[in-house]
Each structure stands twice: as C-alpha cells, then as structure tokens.
Symmetry: C2
Amino acid sequence: MRFMSDAAQTYPPVEELRLPKVLAALADPARLAAVRALATNGESACTALQMEAGLRISRSTFSHHQRILREAGIIRAEVRGAQRILSLRRDDLDICFPGLLEAVVSADAAHVTG
Amino acid sequence: MRFMSDAAQTYPPVEELRLPKVLAALADPARLAAVRALATNGESACTALQMEAGLRISRSTFSHHQRILREAGIIRAEVRGAQRILSLRRDDLDICFPGLLEAVVSADAAHVTG
DNA sequence: ATCGACGGTCGATAAGGATCGAACAGTACG
DNA sequence: CGTACTGTTCGATCCTTATCGACCGTCGAT
C-alpha cells in the first residue's frame, strides 16, 4: 500500500476543465507566481519551484497550493524518485481556453504584484 | 448630500489594475456569467443584466457582485436617471492584460458551466 | 406629494480557503 | 539500518466571501 493517495498524482481530463475553477486557482498571488515561474523555467520540483517563485511559505501551504493548481487542471505532477516534478498543462489549457494562459503569463509584472 | 457614496460610481484607474484581483473577480460563476452577458449584449442596467445572465439571486447579492467587478476594474457604472448602466472596460483591460478578456469571453460554454 | 421601480448599505449567517506546525510515508545514500 | 530529504495529510485557527432580508435614498411618473 502506498502512502500518498492516488489523488495526489492524478489530474482532471481535458473535458472536465472548468473556467471558474481555473480562474480561482490562478487568482491567488502565490499560485500565480508559481505558474509564471513554471512558464519561464519549464518543469520544477516543488521546493525548487517555491524558490523560483519567491514564495516564503511553509511546505504544507505550498503543497496545498500545488493541489489546487493540479485539481483545476493547470499543472501536472510526475513522480521522479523522491521528487515530484511539476509542469504546466499548456496544450490542454490552450484547447479549452485559447489565449488564457498566454495572457496570464505574459502580463506585465507591474500589474501582477499587488 | 447624496445617499449612495461616491465609491458606488468610481472605479480604479488603469495603472491600479491587478491581475490577482481581476482573476478573483472573474472566478465566481455569477460574475463570470454577468461579464459574458455584458460582452454579448453591450451595456445593461443591473436588473436587466441579471436577467440576461440568468442569475436567480437577490438584488443585494447582485449589488455585491457588481461592486467586486467594478473594484477589480472590469466594469464601469454610469448613472442614467434611476438606472445604473454597466459596461465592460474592454480597452483598459486590453491595455493591462492583452487577450485576457477575449479568452474568458470566447471560452466554450461547455467549459464554463460547472 | 405619493407611489413604484431601481439599487445601495447594513447586519447576520454560513461556507470556504489560506496558513501553520506536527506527524507521517516514500526515496536515496552512507 | 539509520539519517537526511521530499512532499503529503491532519487538525486548528483565522480571515475572507457569498448569500439573504430588511431598510433607506433617488428618480420618474401620476
């Protein structure tokens, strides 16, 4: 038996993506920073991403955010050894919401940081 | 002296728009429906927009949503007689977040309704 | 002046979510 | 085996927010 439930690695299929949930996931400053960092740096493990995004929060809080992003369909988690490599689901998002990720990622930093 | 505070008519200038706040405003299904209806029908008064968006909520709740959208910088309110005409701030949003409104509005309905 | 329609504000309530520390499980390496 | 590292889960806390009904001000028409 495994410790981490299967739900910790799975993410919704394309046809189940919902705009309100995606927007809610992106609306949190910490999650938005993580997504923008992922878009810039490609895939990253959790702790590395947390650094890249400049997030000074506890591991449990980051785990929470990562879960929200995954359940919204924005990121995917791949287990590699002891690490979980996170990456954007660019293609799936572009199919359901063309232009959305691009708009969110390319927004000028001045209008992102509150 | 007027009853409605000035804040009920004012909205933030372009340079104060912030992506997390805009996304949070759009993340609510009722507000998202209102924005999409506004994009389709052009400007509308509050009660009319509520009908167009198919929102069966109380007037006070709609007033709350309208306020969130206005304070996020997504809509503008113009007083015409006894009515408040609501409209999208397309140009301002396109300046700060190019492609965002378009993406949100043109998303397929299947991926919008939960 | 009164009446009805339009909407905003207030106070209460209930539900959701961000945050943390502690405890736990899987992996890698000596 | 034991240690260090990675990340999840749990429970508690605190804050935010969606919702409503009741009340009130403004406007246009009667």
